[in-house]
Every structure is written in C-alpha cells, then in structure tokens.
Amino acid sequence: MAETLYYRTASELSRELESKKITSEEIVRSVIERTKAVDGSVGAFISFDEDDALARAKASDERRSRGRELGPLDGIPIGIKDILAVEGQPLTCASRMLGKFVSPYDATAIRKLKENGAVIWGRLNMDEFAMGSSTENSSVKTTVNPWNTDCIPGGSSGGSAACVAAGEAPLSLGSDTGGSIRQPAALCGVVGMKPTYGLVSRYGLVAFASSLDQIGPFAHTVEDAALLLQAIAGHDDRDSTSFKTDIPDYRKEIEKKRGPWKLGIPKEYFGEGLDPEVRKAVQAAVEFYRSEGCEIVDVSLPHTEHAVGVYYIIATAEASSNLARYDGVRYTHRSPEAVDAIDLYFKSRAEGFGPEVKRRVILGTYVLSSGYYDAYYLKAQKVRTLIRGDFLKAFNEVDALLTPTTPSPAFRKGEKTDDPLQMYLSDTYTIGANLAGIPGISIPCGFSESGLPIGLQILGRPFHEGDLFAIANTFEQAHHYHAKHPELK
C-alpha cells in the first residue's frame, strides 16, 4: 500500500490514520521513497532530514497508539519552504549568503505545526530570498515544473508547489509577497492560498517585504489547504502586525452550503497580455459559477495598472532594509578577502547575493535615498491606498473576485531571465492582493493544449478565508482537476 500513499490527500491520510489503517511512518516512508525517486529530476528539495522525519512520524504513531485524540495534521508530512526557521535545521533562503546558517529557533508557524504533531519534512527550493517568479533565482539548484520539466515551476515558492504536484509531500508551506504562493500553485496545478495579511504570524518567516509577506499553504485540495491554514493561523504576540481575530473552523465553512455567491469579474484582469488558453479556462470557470446560481457582476479595479510599479517600489525598498543584516558579521557568508569591516560588507554581499537580489536591493536603496523618498516610496504608499480602496469598494458589491492567477501557463526555463521587467509583469494578477492585504487562493481550473495547468484565482474580503475555501471547493468538487497528476519518471 505504501507506494500509493504519496499522492493521497492529507484529509484522506488523516482519516486513515485515525482509523488506524495506516501509520505515519508508512506515509513518511512513502514520501521519502517518492522524493528519492523523482526529486533528481524535479529538484524541489534543497535538503531533507530523513531520520528526523521518521523520528517525528514514529513519535506520532506512538501518541496515537496510546489512544490520545490527535489533530488532523498529526503524523502528516509537510514540506517547508526554505525561508521558514526550524530549530536545528538549515535556513538558506536558497542563498549562498545563508549557506551555512542553522536556525536556533522555530518560526511561529513551525511551532504550531509541531504542536499539531505534523512531521516537518524537508526544505524546499525557492528564488533567493523569495525574489523571483520562476525559482530560477535559487543559488542552490533548479526546480522544474513536474508537468513539463523544460518549464519553470513558478516562484518564488517553486519548490513548495512542485513537491506537492510531484507527490513528494501532501502539503507544504510557502510564502507570498506578490504572488509567490498563488503563481507557482497555478503553474504546477495545485491549490495555494495567500491568507489575509496579519492572519498568520510572520515571526520566523525571513522577511522580503514586511508589509506584504504572508505564509500560506500548498495542497492537492481546497480541504487540505484549509486544514493546513487552520493549524498556522491566529494571533501571535511575537508579530506586531498579527491580527487578533477569531479563526473559524475552515472545514465547517466549506461544508456549510452557502451562497449563491455574488462574484465579481474585474475587467482589468482580462485585458491585453492574457493568454487565450488561460482566458478560456477562466471564463469556463466563471460560467460554471453562473450555472451554479451565482450572480456574476462586472467590476472595475481602476488602479490595477499601477500595481506592479507600486509593488516594485514598496517591496524593494523594504527588502533593501530587511536584507541589510546579511553583512558577513554575525551569521552569514563572510568574504575571506576583506581587509576591514567596511570592505567586509562590500565583498561579503557581493559574493553572497545573486544578481536578482542585488538588483532589487539596489533599486530599493535608490527609491529610499536622499531626495527620492517622496517621489517613489511615499507616492507608492499613496497609490497603494487607492489600490486597496478599489478592492474594498468592489467587496461592498460582491463576495469575491474571480480572475486568472497568471497571464499564461508556465513559461520555459531561461525565457525571461534577462528581462526583469517582463518577469515582474508576470505577477500582474497576484500583486494586488498583497498590496491590499486581502486573501487569495489559486485552484487548478484546466490545462493548456500542451498539458500545462491553468489556475483560477479567487480573491476575497479580509479575514474571509472561509468564503474563499467554500467558493473554491464548489469548483473543485465539480471538476476534480486535483486528481490528475503529472507523469514523472
């Protein structure tokens, strides 16, 4: 039975664990074997600790054998983007800068997973410091799209998406600053959610852009994503931006038969640059919702065209400051060539950071530098207010928005690496949710003719993740795209 476990959903595995049909050790062994078999070609993992994962699995089985009532994640392996601190494990952010760093503390999300008995499984590849949309900016390795290994898996959480798509973990955690969960989820044909800013503690999430970053789940199904979000959501007194709000039982939110929903179609998300196959798939999804009795309304988010510009000012400005701590002094790569402390900075940072990180740190430093703050950062913050206002206004009218997650299916490796602006523009549809702080989910809604997955993005009201899960689940139950898996050697 073990060899078929790795593609089961977490919810199924959980039920079978509960009924004692299987053990956590069997699941973890199955996942380890699968990873060993396919990760050579997928490249999702930066590192993993088999022994540690098996020890956690056995501990879970033992808890269960003692008859204790366990949570749904107990004994379920979860892959972790290499941007979350796990005590005693490496934390590289796919950067040479943190090549030797071992975290002496747990991120709050990780602590919560451990408290839920989950098996922390492996460190997943990403764009260096989460800066990128293709995982090609990893300094460690290349991750490919399991549906077509010539294509990128998306990014920055490319490893987190690819590992679920390839059956190397039923669940994984990623982080999303401008689409880094939803975009790779769409391109790899899995479910990915960016929660409302403030729902999941950022403590222990290595900061890229503090006012935009959120941790979120990757899963095969909407129910699984809800299960994982349930475990990590909630107020944390170690994160001043964490929100005090009651967390509903998301699975109950899914089960509640609500609706019919009033769904908005923002016209700015269906304009120029949208791939016809993606347009077709998303329009089909819209029609599905209409046929389900949902009211479909055209809405406008007039400031959408400015989202990428605002994003690249705010995100790079915050990043330039957040990444200043990687300096060769306390815990990072230290250039052996440095002659004095100042030289140490210049050389360690030149050697430790890859080109995209350097590019963004330079841009962020520039927009904050003397004489430019008002023209760039302050201006961007004001336009951010307008963008946020567009969304909140739309939500006065509709329950959620339906959009494509990405303008096109996965592109080929190397296609956009020399043109950062084109790469940045591929985040057009996802960035708005980060700027507005609202939740968004991407679910598979079809395939291109060449067999690449297409994602449907559903954006919702702040702290209404339950609505998004319910709306997404309606589609998933009728289509079962999640049951399709890529063929891998």
Partner: protein, 97 residues
C-alpha cells in the same frame, strides 16, 4: 543625489547598499533598472492629492508587550553561526571610521 542624466547613479547607490559591483554588473543593472524606473514613471499620472499613504494593510495601534524579561540565548547558541568568534564575542576585521 542618486541620479545622473542616465538614470540611477549606480556607484552612489551601490555604496549605500554596501555591495561591490563589477563594471559589467553596473552596466547591466543600470540598464535593467532604467527600464523598471521608466515603467514606474507611470505612477506620475495618478492623482494622489489628499490620499493618505498606506504603511500597513490593516492599521492597528498600540501593539506591545509588558516589560517582562525571558532568558534568551546561551553564549554558545548566540555565536553558533558566527563566522569567527573569540572571548565569546563576534570577531570582525578592523573597524576603521
């Protein structure tokens, strides 16, 4: 000032960011960032008069903790990732003003 007639004064900014760049990098980044900045210029068409800046997606106030201390790291843990240490302190090359 960080801008010259060609766009970003890359030397000034790289110095602020404490990253040494090769000539090739300087040229490439200047060009690429020039494109990005040109794209960003679009923001100038937006009327933001009377608009408050958004610093936080959901504004909260007075988020604090009480003043109670908890034991932190042991020296060993504090220094476990340090590239070099001596006398329980982090060694850095000579600091010159």
């Amino acid at each position: 000032m960080a801008k010259d007639e060609n766009g970003i004064d890359i030397d000034y900014v790289a110095n602020l960011a404490r990253i040494s760049l090769t000539d090739e990098e300087k040229e490439r980044f200047s060009g690429q960032l020039g494109d990005v900045l040109e794209y960003i210029e679009k923001l100038n068409t937006v009327d933001v008069s009377g608009v408050e800046p958004t610093a936080h997606a959901f504004p909260l106030e007075n988020v604090w903790r009480e003043d109670t201390a908890e034991p932190g790291f042991s020296v060993e843990t504090a220094l476990q990732n340090a590239p070099a240490s001596r006398r329980n302190m982090v060694v850095v090359p000579k600091v010159v003003e």
